[in-house]
């Protein structure tokens, strides 16, 4: 039960990587076999901890990509100058150990009883927790209407593209590609600004619930635009990933 998951002590444990899935050229999903997993809520994250032979420790947080009830999975974007992400995307393989703790978070979570209509806004790898929300919605049979606005640099950078091209009933997916677009692209081709949101977002009068996740600059711009368009601040939940959209 959700309440039980929140009260449980947060301790580090060793999981096994059971699969590595290629999402895009720089993004991998790691499916994990976690012996002592208490279950999680859609939108939560986990912390991972890497230790080298000299005892040096690096810790990072990653949103859980899978829905409650599915095997735990995280999606990691490789940052070229990253210390941890290249290890997770390029070195780690099925059978390796990965130390983690979780699930973590009680604010950026969605349960069907939270209702909607839902407005999900993803910048880059900010799609990860929102994908967990979408999968949870489908698995529970919720009929809450959803609009997802997903901002990516190019079409090749869209994570979970095949899945998002076949959204569940009641889910509308709108992409915007900010750096370059394929020939014949008729969709949005710029960063999410107030005008774009005005066309895509549920009107404030519909009393929507918004979840915004991605790089800090994306989250600030989008959440401010929503509040300015009439969304009550308490109905706009935000999760900032920092300048590089991950770690």
């Amino acid at each position: 039960m959700a309440g039980t998951a929140l009260r449980r002590r947060l301790t580090w444990q060793v999981a096994k990587v059971s699969a590595v899935t290629v999402e895009t050229a720089s993004v991998r999903t790691l499916t994990l076999d976690v012996p002592d997993w208490p279950g999680h809520q859609a939108g939560q994250h986990l912390d991972i901890r890497l230790t080298d032979e000299d005892g040096y420790v690096a810790e990072r947080s990653y949103s859980i990509a899978s829905a409650p009830g599915e095997p735990v999975a995280i999606t990691v974007e490789r940052l070229d100058d990253g210390e941890v992400s290249p290890y997770l995307t390029d070195e780690l393989r099925a059978g390796d150990d990965l130390e983690l703790r979780g699930p973590i978070g009680g604010y950026f979570v969605w349960e069907p009883e939270n209702g909607g209509p839902l407005l999900l806004l993803a910048g880059g790898s900010g799609i990860v927790p929102l994908r967990s929300i979408l999968r949870h919605r489908e698995r529970t049979g919720s009929t809450v209407p959803v609009r997802l606005l997903y901002s990516s640099r190019t079409l090749d950078d869209v994570i979970y593209r095949a899945e998002l091209d076949q959204p569940a009933s009641g889910v509308e997916v709108i992409h915007t590609l900010t750096r370059s677009q394929p020939p014949g692209w008729s969709g949005y081709a710029r960063r999410a600004d107030a005008a774009l949101l005005a066309e895509v977002a549920w009107p404030a009068a519909a009393l929507p619930l918004a979840y915004v996740c991605g790089p800090t600059s994306f989250v600030e711009a989008v959440s401010q635009a929503l509040v300015q368009s009439g969304y009550p601040p308490e109905r706009v939940k935000t999760e900032r990933f920092g300048a590089t959209g991950g770690t």
Binding site: W12, V14, R49, L50, T51, D52, E53, D54, G55, Y56, V57, A58, D81, E83, Y87, E91, L92, D96, D97, L98, E99
Partner: protein, 201 residues
């Protein structure tokens, strides 16, 4: 101890290169990481002042007056407590010796006060004798705000948290009171060559 993560290693430095220039536990980087405890202040230059001296009796310069002081070009190595070192960094600034002479004060200790509220403490003996500057240019360009511009303290022989960004005054004191990070357990002095990262080191 946690299990070792197969194949994971931290950034390492080439030991043969730079031998003797890099303090223990450090690795050399070509980047210039930006580490901040708060938002970047943006102080308008015509309202910027720098002061030095004992509280209540400080000598103050406006930006124009400050820039009219004799300046020095220095190239130094810098060492961050988070283990990165950057070699041959080029700065332009006013020597703290110049500033103290103009103030006509003495005092065993100094507390740097900065826009945004950051503080750090340094013994005056470590700010004099050509060891420290108030720097306003880096690599021949005006110091960028995220790196401490308009001006930052530069004390390269100590860990770089002592080179306070957005510095506005050096307050001379009789006691070695801890600044922001020192208060939470970082070393009161911070000599990278003796690896004085934390209190008690």
């Amino acid at each position: 101890m946690s299990p070792v993560s197969r194949g994971f290693h931290r950034r390492r430095q080439d030991p043969a290169e730079n031998a003797g220039r890099v303090p223990p536990g450090q690795y050399v980087t070509k980047d210039f990481p930006v580490l901040s405890a708060g938002p970047t202040p943006h102080t308008v230059l015509d309202r910027w002042t720098f002061s030095i001296g004992r509280s209540g009796q400080q000598k103050t310069w406006s930006w124009a007056e400050f820039r009219a002081l004799p300046t020095q070009d220095v190239t130094v190595d810098i060492h961050c407590v988070t283990k990165w070192s950057k070699l041959d960094t080029a700065w332009q600034g006013v020597s703290v010796d110049t500033l103290l002479e103009a103030a006509g004060h003495e005092g065993p200790y100094a507390m740097a006060h900065c826009d945004g509220g950051y503080t750090t403490n340094v013994p005056v003996a470590d700010l004099t004798g050509g060891k420290a500057w108030v720097a306003y240019a880096y690599n021949g360009q005006p110091l960028a705000p995220e790196h401490g511009g308009p001006a930052r303290l530069l004390v390269p022989h100590l860990y770089f948290w002592k080179s306070a960004k957005w510095v506005r005054s050096l307050e001379l004191r009789d006691t070695n009171d801890p600044g922001f990070w020192e208060n939470y357990g970082y070393h009161i002095y911070g000599d990278p060559w003796r690896e004085q990262r934390y209190a008690g080191d």
